[in-house]
């Protein structure tokens, strides 16, 4: 019978059915970071448990690392304690740790793919909701809680209910200046922030077929913002080309065998989906959020919504709450909204191609007076290549601060934070109240090039006009 990739991978990793009807699912690859794992290691110690398969867990440090300080101890003693705790736990339990001294450190969802650890047909779990990123390779990747991290450490399995599968197909061609970030923001705005609850999203169609791995990762990354715990793209030649030669990718004969297996894991033609949604790439514009969840976005040519024109009472009250927090006026064009900070980075848009694309356009431009602009490579690896290509220099000359790898201002567990009610044009993934570290800070999500356009003009701008974008 024709099966989806999701079902094939699920079935291949099913250990048994548990008493409550959930599946005991084998977690092939476990990724951990410093924020959600220390309590899990504490539980392991309390219960006297050993890590079942230490060679299948990989650690790095990303959330709390200061991006402007390399040497320890860190200025923040709590952050310093957390990194030392992770280092201690990895040593004690025999886990590979991509520490800053290895040159392989970075945001966990950038490091996994970069190292070739993220592979098609695998199951991946990590105590971070953006674990869905790894689905770009045709893996089933879940964000999990800390008690589940304990479960995976202790047994390399977890208890989980099977998800339904919705195929989200985007066909046609994206217009110039429209990026993967716009595609996922459009999908979330269309299907809703909880539209994906209970589903895994299979992203497909001509747009995804053409996308690079980094573009696919940007989309899969934000699946959870649409409520979908996992999102994936079927593996293809683009996937295999990306993985070939990476440190943890299979080598020699094992490579050929792996590629043969990976080809078979893709969804079969004619397989049944629980739901299918089709979208036209031409309908997608550069998208900017105006509200307090990632589903509250409009095309750059659009306006902040007017609650008086809301279709439902729910929508009206959501708009009222969001506009009160964002201090935006109903009906005002989103374009022209003044910004204070521009943030380029995160597990959504902190990859090499994000910086390359922006560098192409900001060369010779300057960040507007009064705007603080920071560019934060997602990993030490990305930072290194940017340095080799002179990309860091282009950013610095344009007036950006160029930082060391980390989550930075995406979630503000490190010194990179908004202050007061600053407005931030951000390439990250969440615009929740207080998300960027100030309880009154305001976040506008957009693509990296739109962040750059806002940085150089001092307000939300149409990157296609600012940079005369004529082709992607």
């Amino acid at each position: 019978m024709a099966k989806t990739l999701f079902d094939k991978v699920w079935d291949a990793h099913s250990v048994r059915t548990l008493a409550n009807g959930q599946t005991q699912l084998l977690v092939g690859t476990h990724l951990i970071h410093e924020v959600t794992s220390p309590q899990a290691f504490g539980m392991m110690r309390d219960l006297g448990l050993k890590v079942a398969m230490p060679h299948r867990t990989f650690a790095t440090v990303d959330h709390i690392v200061p991006t402007d300080q390399v040497s320890e101890p860190y200025a923040d003693p709590l952050a310093d304690a957390m990194i030392k705790e992770l280092r201690r736990s990895c040593r004690e339990f025999g886990i590979t740790f991509f520490d800053r001294s290895t040159g392989k450190q970075g945001i966990v969802h950038i490091v996994g793919p970069e190292q070739g650890i993220t592979q098609p047909g695998t199951t991946i779990a990590c105590g971070d909701s953006h674990t869905s990123t790894h689905g770009a390779f045709g893996a089933i990747a879940f964000g999990i809680g800390t008690t589940q991290i304990r479960d995976v450490l202790a047994t390399q399995t977890m208890a989980l209910g099977r998800l339904k599968v919705r195929r989200v197909e985007v066909n046609g061609r994206l217009r110039p200046g429209v990026y993967a970030k716009d595609v996922i923001l459009h999908i979330i705005c269309t299907l809703g922030v909880n539209g994906g609850t209970g589903y895994a999203y299979e992203y497909a169609g001509e747009v995804f077929d053409r996308f690079s791995m980094e573009e696919r990762m940007t989309v899969c990354n934000m699946s959870i913002e649409g409520g979908a715990r996992a999102g994936y793209v079927n593996p293809d030649e683009t996937t295999f080309a990306y993985l070939k030669g990476r440190p943890y990718s299979p080598k020699g004969e094992a490579w050929e065998a792996a590629v043969a297996r990976w080809r078979l894991v893709a969804s079969d033609p004619g397989c049944a989906y629980d739901d299918v949604v089709k979208m036209d790439a031409a309908d997608i514009a550069p998208t900017v959020t105006w509200g307090i969840n990632p589903g509250q976005g409009v095309p750059i040519t659009g306006a902040v919504p007017d609650p008086a024109r809301a279709a439902t009472e729910d929508e009206r009250s959501s708009i009222v709450e969001a506009l009160a927090y964002m201090k935006l006026k109903p009906g005002a064009p989103i374009k022209g909204t003044k910004i204070d900070v521009a943030f380029l980075g995160s597990c959504t848009n902190g990859r090499l191609s994000d910086f390359q694309e922006v560098a192409r356009f900001i060369k010779g431009r300057r960040v507007a007076p009064g705007v603080k602009a920071i560019a934060v490579p997602g990993s030490q690896g990305v930072g290194l290549i940017c340095a080799e290509l002179g990309i860091d220099k282009i950013f610095r000359e344009a007036g950006f601060e160029w930082r060391n790898a980390g989550c930075s201002m995406c979630l503000a567990m490190n010194p990179d934070k908004l202050v007061g009610d600053q407005v931030c044009a951000s390439s990250s993934n969440r615009n929740f109240k207080g998300r960027q570290g100030s309880p009154t800070g305001r976040t506008l999500l957009m693509s990296p090039l739109m962040v750059a356009a806002a940085a150089v003009t001092g307000s939300v701008a149409d990157a296609r006009e600012v940079f005369a974008v004529s082709s992607n």
Binding site: G145, A154, L160, T197, N293, D314, M413
Partner: protein
């Protein structure tokens, strides 16, 4: 490891209205720089409850008449966003034992279940009725009966729904799956052995 069979949760309730209440709001990230979950209760809904200067906002969670509430009432898509278990941990450490909402985000629901904290779904009108009863008399005893899938408050009742796997785990005292997962270790080893990438 014998776990409590959670068949009913009772106590006072408090209403935190709104849809899409995310885990950053439940526990802001700046309070997560800790290596244990102890002490998180104090920071629950911190920016919802507190002004920048640390003074209280006018918010039901701050009101003396709602102190000691064990059940939280809310809207749709409660607990969306980050997978941080710190969110249900903060609720539990603050004293909450169950959440009744119009809907829950997937990861939050799973995390809460693993802590033995039921998340049950009720219709908007029913939640409004419970909230009204609590508003009229904050001492109203609200009881969630997981066996009958019903919530009672004062002389009123309403139906609630709960995912069957969650309900089963709670009422049978197997909401923390670690024991069962360890029992399956040998089978897990076999499955791992069948997957070439697991040995690399």
């Amino acid at each position: 490891m014998a776990l409590e069979k959670i068949t009913r949760v009772s106590g006072r309730a408090v209403f935190v209205p709104g849809n899409d209440i995310d885990t950053d709001r439940i526990i802001p990230a700046r309070f997560m720089k800790c290596v244990t979950f102890d002490g998180l209760g104090e920071f629950l809904f911190y920016d919802v409850r507190k002004n920048a200067d640390g003074s209280d906002k006018p918010q039901p969670l701050n009101e003396a008449r709602h102190k000691g509430a064990r059940l939280l009432l809310s809207g749709m898509n409660f607990g969306c966003g980050s997978s941080r278990e710190h969110a249900p941990q903060a609720l539990q450490k603050h004293g909450f034992r169950a959440v009744i909402a119009e809907g829950f985000a997937e990861i939050f629901l799973g995390n809460s279940t693993t802590l033995g904290m039921p998340c049950v779904t009720a219709g908007r009108e029913d939640i409004a009725r419970i909230a009204a009863a609590v508003e009229a008399d904050p001492a109203t005893e609200v009881v969630i009966d997981l066996v009958a899938r019903r919530v009672s408050f004062g002389a009123q009742t309403a139906q609630v729904s709960i995912r069957e796997s969650v309900r089963d785990a709670l009422v049978h005292g197997r909401w923390d799956p670690i024991g069962e997962l360890i029992e399956g270790a040998a089978d897990a080893g076999k499955v791992a052995g069948s997957l070439p990438y697991m040995s690399l």
